[in-house]
Subunit: 272 residues, 2 copies
C-alpha cells in the first residue's frame, strides 16, 4: 500500500525532482503491533535533513496520521517514508516555493534468518567506495547509487552485509547499516562528517552505551583497527544489531559484543 | 511532452528505483531543426554509463525513433532522456533481470542572454563541494543533489554559473557545466576521475583542441591556477561555451579564449 500526500496512489509525477535529481530524503522504520517504531527519532532526522536541504518539512501530526493509516493493521512490517522537493524549478535550481511530495509505503518485514542476530553474520569488503561528500554526509538522501552498486557486488546468500570504505580506505558503514567495532569492551564507530548515513540505530546504540557506562568513541577507523578488534557489528532500524562472525574470510568473535548492550537493546526494541 | 517506454505519460511508478535511490542516468541534448544534436556522443555516454551501473542499455534505434517523435516538430529545444533501472530488487540490491524505464522529455530552449556567450558571464564560487565518489565519477547519474544544493546557493540573476570545488578545494566543474582554464593559449580542464560529470561539450572541446593543435591537458587544478589564468570558460551541450568575465568578484578576461576554438565550435554547432 502506498500513500502520496495522503491519497492512495501507485504513480508519481515523472518530473518530480526526487526522480530527476534524487532531490529528497527517506526514512525506513520498523512497524510493530500497528505502530511505527522510533517515530520521534525518525521524524527528528527527517526534520534535520529537510532543514539541510531546504525542503519544507511535512507537518508532523499529518505525517503520523498517514503513517498510522498504513501501520494500524500491520503486526510486523516496514514503513518507508520518502519526502521529495516536488516539481518545478529550472534545471538544478530549486523552486523558490517548493511543494514537497511525501510518499508512505508499507512493506513486508524482511525475512532475515534469526541466526544473524544470534550467531552473527558473514560480511565482505565492498570494492565500491562510499564517496566523500561533506554536503550530503549523514543524510539519508535519495542519492543512494553507491549503495546500490556496492550491494550489486555479491549474490551469495551466505553473505549478509558488505563493508564500504571511503576512497582513502577507511571503513565507513555497511551497504544498509552502520558499523561498530568492539575493542576491550569499548565501542568505536566511524565518523560520518564526510560521508555515510547517520543511522537511527547507530544513534540509539551510542546513547545506550552512555547509559550503560560503555565507552563509545566516534572517530576515523582503519582496516587494521577492524582486524585487531575483539569484535564488530552492523546495525540498523530493521535488523537491530548483527554481530560479525566472519569478515572477508577472516573469523571474528560474535561473542565479543558487550552482553549488557545486546540485552538492553533487546529489552528496548520489542520488535527484534 | 513526455514519453515513458515509448508511450505518452505524465507519471511513473512510485517504486521505480530512479526515485527510490537515484538508480539511473540522464542525458540533456540540444534539439535543432527537428533533430537531437550530438546524438552519437550522448548515446555513447549513455552506453558507457549503463555498462558501469549494470543497467541494460535501451535499444539505440528505438531510442532514436522515440527521440525523433519528440524532436521532429521542434526547431530549437531540449531533449532530456532519463534511464532508470526500473522497479524491483530488494532494498539497494538490484533485481537480477532489471526492466529499465526510459523517459524522454521535450523541454523549452533555455532563454540565456546572448551576451553570456558573446561578452562572458559572472560566476561565483559555491560553498557546496562536489563529493569525491570514484564509483560515480564522470557519470551523469540521477544522484545530483550536490548540484541542486550548489545551485540553490544564489538567486542573483546576474550570476550565471557557480564553480564547485572538491572537498580539498580543487576546482572540478560548474553546477551544470564543465570548466576550462586558458593559460598562454593552452587549455587545462579538471580531471574527473574522482568526481564530476564528464560532459559531451567538454569532450568535444578536448577533441577540437587536438584538431586545432591547441594544447589541452586534463589534470588537477588549484584555485591559484584559476586566479593566475589568462581566462576561463564553462561549457555544456546547451550553452556551448561561456567565457568568464568575473569570478567571485575578480575580473577575468573573456577575450583570452583562443579565437579559432570559438569559431570552430560555432561552425560545428549550428544551434549555438
Amino acid at each position: 500500500l502506498l500513500l502520496i500526500n495522503g491519497e492512495p496512489a501507485t504513480t508519481i509525477d515523472a518530473t518530480d525532482r526526487g526522480l530527476q535529481y534524487g532531490d529528497g530524503l527517506f526514512e525506513t522504520c520498523a512497524i510493530w503491533n500497528g505502530r511505527p517504531q522510533q517515530w520521534q527519532q525518525h521524524f527528528h532526522r527527517l526534520t534535520l535533513g529537510c532543514k539541510r536541504l531546504g525542503i519544507p518539512l511535512p507537518d508532523g501530526t499529518l505525517l503520523y496520521q498517514e503513517a498510522m493509516q498504513l501501520c494500524h493493521a500491520v503486526s510486523r512490517g516496514v514503513l518507508k517514508i520518502v519526502v521529495t522537493r516536488g516539481g518545478g524549478g529550472r534545471g538544478y535550481r530549486p523552486p523558490a516555493q517548493p511543494a514537497p511530495n511525501r510518499l508512505l509505503q508499507s512493506l513486508p518485514w524482511p525475512d532475515y534468518p534469526a541466526s544473524y542476530r544470534q550467531r552473527g553474520i558473514r560480511a565482505r569488503l565492498c570494492a565500491t567506495p562510499v564517496g566523500q561528500s561533506p554536503a550530503l554526509a549523514g543524510l539519508k538522501s535519495l542519492n543512494r547509487l553507491e549503495q546500490v552498486l556496492a550491494r550489486a557486488e555479491w549474490s551469495d546468500p551466505e553473505i549478509a552485509e558488505g563493508l564500504m570504505l571511503d576512497p582513502a580506505g577507511h571503513p565507513v558503514e555497511g551497504t544498509m547499516s552502520n558499523l561498530f567495532v568492539v575493542i576491550d569492551g569499548c565501542l568505536r564507530t566511524p565518523d560520518l562528517s564526510r560521508g555515510g548515513v547517520a543511522g537511527i540505530m547507530r544513534q540509539l546504540i551510542i546513547e545506550m552505551a552512555a547509559t550503560l557506562a560503555i565507552e563509545c568513541r566516534v572517530d576515523t577507523l582503519t582496516l587494521e583497527d577492524l582486524w585487531s578488534a575483539d569484535g564488530l557489528f552492523f546495525c540498523n532500524s530493521l535488523i537491530g544489531l548483527w554481530p560479525v562472525r566472519e569478515l572477508a574470510g577472516q573469523a571474528m568473535d560474535p561473542e565479543a559484543i558487550p552482553r549488557r548492550l545486546i540485552e538492553s537493546l533487546t529489552n528496548q526494541l520489542e520488535y527484534l
